[in-house]
């Protein structure tokens, strides 16, 4: 290759020039060297491997010229790792430079020395680092502190053996230079967080960072810190748990002026402190929202577009949590024509959230402007936003009119979005059907191509066939074009719609139904085929039963549930001022555990448990996927609980005792078998139902038994984390209960590991814990005495509300209630001793 030849010859060329200059003391030699060094580094930057020049570069670096030295350090730092043998060559001159008279050179040399990242050289680092930490120049000390972290990453044991963390702690609390203090804090946080996975002591040390003396010491100096170090300190303060309210107000008063800082990162970090400190004081918490609103809005408009987006994402989170506080600021969330679509999307969601009785008219008018926008994705989002507002308002009069106007705009994508919305709207407000159906009836199905919209139209044709004169004929023509319909979703809906139409207008639909069933039976798509066959057999069995299954009376939907669980939302809020807010998901979903920071092992488990929950709920989701309901469920919203199942599911078995609106098969069987739902609330998982069927869930029965047999636990139970995780994943949830903690218990939580020791005294062992105030999470296990049966517990505690929740999984589910009682009685004694 020509290019590779070229750079090879250039490297050779550079080498010979470097050799010539190496020993030269001639005037101007340094300038010549500078030029050469620049060429080398320039090659390095663009990715050409110039590591073969290592020897020559080191030879040339015997110089007093600081510019040359710095370039050489840069070069050495880049290549030492791949050339450990050559790196040894540099140790000498770097060590010498570490003792130079000029503090600048001492600092630079020390930094380069620590950046070599070569494991077999660590012995040479300890000495210079030790003296660097004691250097009388603050620049050298700042470099040395970070050097300790570098050393830790090369060889943790060397770093700990030299007792560097203790030195850093001393420096942090005593050094006059704030950058040294800030670096110590960063270094200690990193080292102790990594150490705490294996060392109890390190975990304790890490917690002392958020103790009152350290926090007050840092807060009192906050204005001396650089803006970046301020962010660091504020982040730490947000984890601090003040002992009483006056302390909270003192901290907030002290930090009040930080909200006027021009740096958005400082403002957000301060906001986080305010929000987290006041979680337990609802009134003050609300005042905090009011207080931080204006500074955050200023950051949105004054910052760079990028910064503005980061702050807007945080405002978005706040708006979603407390829309009423922002309802008079809605104009700030209007989109500007030149904003990128990721900003517009956020703003549309915010507009949707803040809409209330007084501003809905303005907001919907504005949204309708966007619907005609040249930016089609945003136009679509805007129409959806109008629909969402309609679904959350009581007075939808005007909005329905606007939606219907959309249908008349004759823009394909507008019509499609509007159809989906009208369908959702009709589910909530069936009283509007007259007006809507009149307009929908005028839409030619030929103009609707998108599957979602077409499915919506077909659903309406089936559902309201009695009010739409030509519904049977439209459906018939759709059935005739069966083969051209590529979307299985649309074909499924077509089957159901033709059925519904048939029940209402049999003579007119009979032909279409026959054709649809025939086409469906011949369909290559499994679900379509099965549904056609199912309908066919139903009809064969009894038409009235078929009708009660396919077209039972419906209730209007009252609430469309959010796509995100409130647990996830709370987690994101806990991680305010982090990427979680931008990505709109908690950190365990996008970071691996070693980079997660404060929550380590427990997060893994949390992850597992959430995955397990997701897995559970996926079962009913799949169950309804192919039935009528998937049309009814709009993309982001899933209907809550049993409503989903009661709206007429095609897959539910013919009802046994005349209950026409049964829920899905397994659940209805479960109901029959026990005539009461499982003790664990919502029971979203069909696996419960199956357990019920198999008679595995005795929780209901056990609860009914007045006195459970006394349970004793093995005080020396052992379980390794791997097994714990595996079991946690495999076992079904057998019990979930909420209860309150005593005030003493909450207070005792502040002492690290106190709870763990306390529970241990009751033979309940902690395997992982984590979280930050006010939310704590623990995983415990226990073993039944003289048995292999294991209990697994997830305990969530919110220290500000004193609420806690336990989830128990057990090998032997019959005793889980007894275990829960034992667990709670143990917990209730916490803090009282």
């Amino acid at each position: 290759m020509l290019t590779s030849f070229n750079w090879k010859s250039e490297v050779t060329d550079l080498r010979s020039q470097l050799r010539q200059l190496a020993g030269s003391r001639a005037p101007g030699a340094d300038d010549a060297k500078r030029d050469l060094f620049k060429k080398v580094i320039s090659n390095m930057t663009i990715g050409i491997d110039v590591s073969s020049l290592f020897g020559e570069m080191v030879m040339c670096s015997a110089t007093s010229d600081i510019v040359l030295k710095k370039m050489c350090y840069l070069y050495v730092g880049n290549y030492a790792k791949v050339n450990p043998d050559l790196a040894l060559l540099t140790i000498n001159f770097l060590q010498r430079d570490c003792k130079d008279d000029d503090p600048m050179i001492r600092g630079l040399a020390l930094r380069s020395l620590c950046s070599l990242r070569v494991a077999n050289l660590v012995e040479y680092l300890v000495g210079p680092l030790g003296s660097g930490l004691k250097d009388n120049n603050s620049y050298v000390r700042t470099v040395a502190v970070i050097g300790v972290v570098k050393l830790y990453h090369i060889s943790a044991s060397t770093c700990l053996d030299a007792d560097f963390p203790a030195t850093l702690k001393h420096l942090m609390l005593n050094d006059p230079d704030t950058q040294v203090v800030a670096n110590c804090l960063s270094a200690l946080q990193e080292i102790w967080t990594l150490e705490s996975t294996s060392s109890e002591e390190a975990a304790k040390e890490r917690e002392t960072l958020v103790s009152k003396p350290v926090i007050y010491y840092l807060l009192n100096r906050i204005k001396e810190f650089s803006e970046w170090a301020q962010c660091l300190v504020l982040e730490l303060v947000a984890k601090y748990i003040p002992s009483d309210n006056s302390e909270i107000f003192d901290i907030m008063n002290l930090l009040e002026d930080r909200l006027q800082h021009a740096n958005g990162a400082v403002v957000l970090a301060t906001s986080k402190v305010f929000l987290h400190l006041t979680l337990s004081m609802a009134d003050v918490h609300q005042q905090v929202y009011e207080r931080i609103k204006a500074p955050l809005l200023t950051q949105v408009s004054a910052g760079s577009p990028e910064q503005s987006y980061a702050v807007l994402s945080h405002l978005h989170l706040l708006v979603m949590r407390a829309p009423y506080i922002f309802s008079s600021d809605y104009k700030h969330f209007y989109c500007q024509y030149n904003e990128p679509s990721y900003v517009k999307k956020l703003k549309l969601e915010m507009l949707t959230a803040v809409a209330n009785e007084s501003n809905t008219y303005d907001i919907v008018t504005e949204l309708c402007e966007y619907a005609a926008n040249v930016d089609i994705p945003i136009a679509r989002e805007s129409i959806r936003a109008v629909g969402k507002i309609a679904l959350q308002q009581y007075d939808v009069n005007a909005i329905v009119d606007r939606l219907l106007q959309f249908l008349e705009m004759e823009k394909d994508y507008v019509t499609c979005e509007a159809l989906v919305l009208v369908k959702d709207l009709l589910r909530k407000y069936p009283q509007w059907s007259q007006d809507c159906i009149a307009v929908v009836g005028n839409i030619s199905s030929k103009n609707v191509q998108e599957p979602k919209a077409k499915a919506a139209l077909i659903w309406m044709l089936g559902e309201y066939s009695q009010d739409m004169p030509d519904a049977p004929y439209v459906l018939e023509s759709l059935v005739e074009n069966w083969d051209e319909e590529h979307s299985a979703e649309v074909r499924l809906h077509l089957l159901t719609a033709v059925m519904k139409c048939f029940f209402k207008r049999a003579p007119e639909t009979q032909k279409a139904l026959g054709a649809a069933l025939a086409a469906g039976l011949a369909d290559f798509h499994q679900d379509v085929h099965d549904r056609a066959l199912f309908y066919y057999r139903l009809l064969q069995y009894k038409v009235s039963v078929a009708e009660s299954v396919v077209n039972p009376p419906k209730q209007a939907v009252s609430v469309f549930a959010d796509s995100q669980s409130s647990e996830i939302k709370d987690r994101i809020f806990d991680e305010f001022n982090s990427l979680s807010v931008i990505y709109q998901k908690p950190s365990y979903m996008f970071t691996d555990k070693e980079h997660r920071g404060t929550l380590e092992f427990s997060d893994e488990l949390a992850n597992l448990s959430i995955n397990a929950e997701a897995g559970d709920s996926a079962v009913p989701a799949q169950r309804v996927e192919a039935n009528d309901n998937d049309l009814l469920l709009s993309i982001t919203e899933k209907e809550e609980g049993r409503d989903a199942a009661s709206n007429g599911s095609a897959y539910s078995a013919p009802s046994y005792d005349g209950a026409s609106a049964t829920s899905a098969a397994s659940q209805s069987l479960a109901d029959l078998a026990f005539s009461s739902t499982s003790g664990s609330g919502q029971a979203p998982a069909s696996s419960f139902a199956i357990d019920d069927l198999l008679g595995l869930d005795f929780s209901v029965g056990a609860a009914a038994t007045p006195s459970p047999p006394p349970l004793s636990l093995n005080p020396k139970a052992v379980l390794d984390p791997g097994t714990f995780q595996q079991k946690w994943r495999q076992l079904p949830l057998s019990l979930s209960e909420d209860f309150s903690l005593s005030p003493q218990g909450v207070a005792a939580l502040a002492t690290s590991n106190a709870l763990l020791r306390h529970m241990q005294s009751h033979s309940i062992h902690c395997i992982a814990s984590g979280g930050q105030s006010p939310n704590f999470k623990f995983f415990f296990f226990a073993q039944k005495a003289e048995s292999a049966s294991i209990y697994l517990v997830e305990l969530l505690i919110n220290s500000s509300s004193a609420k806690s929740q336990i989830k128990i999984k057990a090998d032997d589910q019959s005793t889980s209630q007894a275990f829960s009682t034992l667990f709670q009685s143990a917990l209730s004694k916490f803090g009282t001793a």
Binding site: Q260, A310, Y334
Partner: protein, 463 residues
């Protein structure tokens, strides 16, 4: 904590690349650039400033067409990293005088020197141009300024609409000037961006001014500066609704919704006499940012009309009226309007005698463009038809369509948007009353430049 920092050119070349922690796999710059270039829809949608690929978080800001990027694996504060990237760009600009691909390439060794001091092992050490001076030894090679567009707020503002590049002079904080002696001077720029939306009937739906007082000081000896603003300046719009305009706007009181200040600013006497005092650090920095939704007089009124003129035809009439004093001249005015998708031909008709105006129909995105600018410097002096205050310009355009009109034509076109720059004008009426330097000078009083400029951010009229 960040893992890597790099600067990419528009073509994706690495100009500067620094790996601080070695935790992110090789090739991150390529992964990043591909992702940005081909964000959803094959690059039609712009990539957000923060995204995650395979566990690596990428942050980027765009500065003068360059991409400043940081990566990290930890869940850190996005605004912290984005602010940092912006600040690194500013520090580099302070040193190089002019920030562009050329100057970066010429000075990359200096840039590495800076980067080593700004960040150590991923932890930010300092971004203060002043503190950095003692650690940086390379002399900047100043790129040829004559190849840059001529100085002046207008040209510097031309890039991007939301960005606010500094408009202080483009000289390095460290470079020695020809003649050896540094010129004692200080620049204070009041930069305002206007966002406004007119309804189809011409009344104002929303309006906001986002302003910055930017400073760049070349004064020796770190003297204290006192900046006095309007003494009746009010901050915080009180308890009323934010947009509840007061009826008495003629009172002259400037009411800001909110503002924030650079950390060097002391507000000791701000409550009393609206004076800011500070010892300006080296380099360019915002003294104060402010936001105002109080009613103000918009510099331009736009009238837009579209009318059907037969089954395949329509006519557009655009009128722009400058509502400011005739002593003030606006420049680089551009009016744009999206036309119906099926428009295939447009013929324009300017007013008789119009000069310095150009019109265009952008076939690809079906957009009408109307530029009103001064073609050459000559025009300024022998002004033929610059946009001075009080004047009005009209454009008529006849549209031909490839298909028959159906539906409402006003729903198929618009809104009209406008960009402009007006030097020595500010809509908020916020003023720097005086600029006091607390230092005795001999015969040579330092130069004090206080300049105002107003720019459109989102200036939109619906039809």
């Amino acid at each position: 904590m960040i893992s890597q920092f790099f600067v990419l050119s528009q073509r994706g070349d690495n100009i500067v690349f620094r790996d601080y922690r070695g935790e992110v796999p090789k090739g991150s710059a390529e992964i990043f650039f591909r992702k940005v270039k081909f964000w959803e829809d094959g690059g039609l949608e712009e990539a957000p400033p923060v995204f995650n690929v395979d566990g690596v978080n990428y942050f980027h800001v765009k500065v003068v067409g360059l991409l400043f990027v940081a990566t990290t694996r930890v869940n850190t504060s996005p605004s912290y990293v984005l602010e940092l990237l912006q600040r690194i760009a500013r520090v580099i600009k302070d040193y190089l005088g002019i920030l562009n691909e050329d100057s970066l390439r010429k000075n990359f060794v200096l840039v590495y020197e800076l980067l080593d001091e700004v960040i150590d092992f991923g932890y930010v050490q300092t971004t203060s141009t002043e503190l950095l001076k003692s650690y940086v030894f390379n002399e900047p090679l100043v790129v040829d300024a004559t190849r840059m567009p001529p100085l002046g707020p207008a040209t510097l503002f031309a890039q991007g609409t939301k960005r606010m590049p500094g408009i202080a002079v483009t000289k390095s904080v460290v470079a020695t000037e020809p003649g050896g002696r540094k010129r004692e001077e200080i620049f204070v720029d009041i930069i305002e961006k206007i966002s406004i939306t007119f309804s189809s009937s011409g009344y104002i739906l929303t309006s906001e001014i986002d302003g910055t007082i930017q400073m760049k000081s070349y004064l020796s000896g770190n003297p204290e500066i006192r900046l006095a603003l309007n003494d009746d300046l009010a901050i915080g719009r009180g308890q009323g609704p934010v947009y509840g305009y007061r009826s008495s706007t003629g009172s002259g009181v400037v009411v800001l919704d909110d503002c924030n200040f650079h950390e060097s600013v002391r507000l000791d006497s701000f409550e009393v006499d609206r004076t800011l005092s500070l010892v300006p650090p080296d380099g360019e920095f915002p003294v104060m940012n402010y936001r105002m939704t109080q009613e103000f007089k918009p510099p331009f009124r736009i009238n837009a009309l579209i009318e059907e003129a037969g089954a395949h035809k329509a006519e557009v009439i655009l009128k722009v009226r400058a509502e400011f004093a005739s002593s003030i001249t606006a420049n680089t005015i551009k009016v744009q309007m999206p036309l119906p998708k099926y428009t295939n031909r447009v013929s324009f008709e300017l007013e008789p005698g119009a000069s310095g105006q150009t019109t265009d129909f952008k076939e690809a995105n079906k957009r009408l463009e109307w530029n009103l600018k001064k073609a050459t410097v000559l025009v300024i002096f022998y002004s033929l038809s610059p946009v001075v205050g009080g004047c009005e310009h009209t454009l008529r355009a006849k549209l031909s369509f490839s298909q028959e009109l159906h539906g409402n034509i006003t729903k198929e076109s618009g809104p009209v948007s406008m960009t402009f720059t007006i030097p020595m004008y500010n809509a908020s009426r916020l003023q720097v009353k005086y600029l006091q330097i607390a230092k005795k000078y001999g015969t040579h009083e330092p130069y004090r430049w206080v300049r105002y400029v107003t720019q459109a951010n989102s200036y939109v009229a619906r039809i």
